[in-house]
Symmetry: C2
Subunit: 204 residues, 2 copies
């Protein structure tokens, strides 16, 4: 889903460069922040000149938008093993596990890209903030869909409010993300796994 990508012909080598830049940008942004990430340092990180970057992105904001989309793709790939689980309760647990696993393996060195991005930009109006909010909503909607599926299958009590349940589950795993990084302690992730399981067991 491209954000009004102004189409223009791309050369193969350019495409490769662009991909390398965005991969580095997505990783760096979780450490320096999407604002703190500077064109100069990013150029150094990929071994290019600042103006070389500008051939691919006409402004910093456009670079940030493309970076968020790249992070979305990376996260989606990380969640794929979770999506492979049978739909319903099992998939919810598998998705949470996949998320916690990608935090633990430091796919993004600064933890979940969207947790970091949301914390940084939630109070800074603009297209980047909006894109992050939209992406986050998709993740929430995905989980809510699985909850409803699980309810239809009788795995989760019908009285349970999907929005409330997903709010709590997401809260648990996002907290694990922050604490794992802040305290450098893998037990935080284990607490999240336990919390998710027990919360789901309690809902039937």
């Amino acid at each position: 889903m491209g954000v009004e990508t102004t189409e223009r012909r791309r050369r193969a080598d350019g495409e490769r460069s662009r991909e390398k830049i965005l991969q580095a940008a997505a990783e760096l942004a979780t450490i320096e922040g999407l604002n703190g990430l500077s064109i100069g340092r990013l150029a150094d990180a990929v071994g290019m000149s600042k103006s070389g970057l500008y051939a691919h992105f006409r402004s910093k904001e456009e670079l940030q938008l493309a970076t968020v989309e790249t992070a979305s793709r990376i996260l989606a790939a990380e969640l794929e093993p979770g999506m492979a689980a049978p739909e319903g309760k099992a998939r919810i647990i598998a998705l949470c596990d996949a998320f916690l696993s990608h935090v633990e393996r430091r796919v993004f060195p600064g933890g979940c890209f969207f947790a970091s991005g949301a914390a940084e930009l939630s109070t800074q109006p603009g297209r980047v903030r909006d894109l992050i909010a939209t992406s986050y909503r998709e993740w929430i909607a995905l989980l809510q869909g699985e909850v409803r599926t699980a309810q239809a299958a009788g795995e989760i009590d019908e009285g349970e409010d999907p929005e409330q349940l997903v709010f709590e589950l997401n809260g648990i795993i996002v907290a694990a993300n922050v604490f794992f990084l802040l305290f450098d302690d893998a037990r935080e992730l284990e607490r999240a796994r336990r919390g998710v399981r027990e919360r789901l067991e309690n809902s039937h």
Copy 2:
């Protein structure tokens, strides 16, 4: 608890300026970030010159450390109504409510100072990060103490692990903080209040 404050005599007018600076810094930092907060903009915000600020803080890091301590004091004052509740389960709920209330009233315009600071600095080694981590631990320890008190009073099941329970409770209210800001929707705070209550009811 002062962080090795190099003592030096202070004049009454200087103390007032210093307080004004730190108040503005604590608020601004939740929007711009502790790194993104620049000396120049902060000076403008309080109507002083950059070099005027440097009469109070010898470096940006020292300003950041003092800002974190100021934020601690502000938060502690906000939690006071919670601490006024009878110890145990009631106080846990009152503390969570006080926290959510200070988010809703935007005591810090960018939400919880420590959630924002932890997200920004958790991967950036240094004294500021360490101070934030220490302050966060105090909050966690405070809640855990209340849980143990509640257990001793028979309000919470003895089988409940205080660390696990507080991890989940804190996850819920921190998630509310982020989502309230990102989606600009007060229902997120209501979900947190409900989540905290139900989680505590379930533990006995």
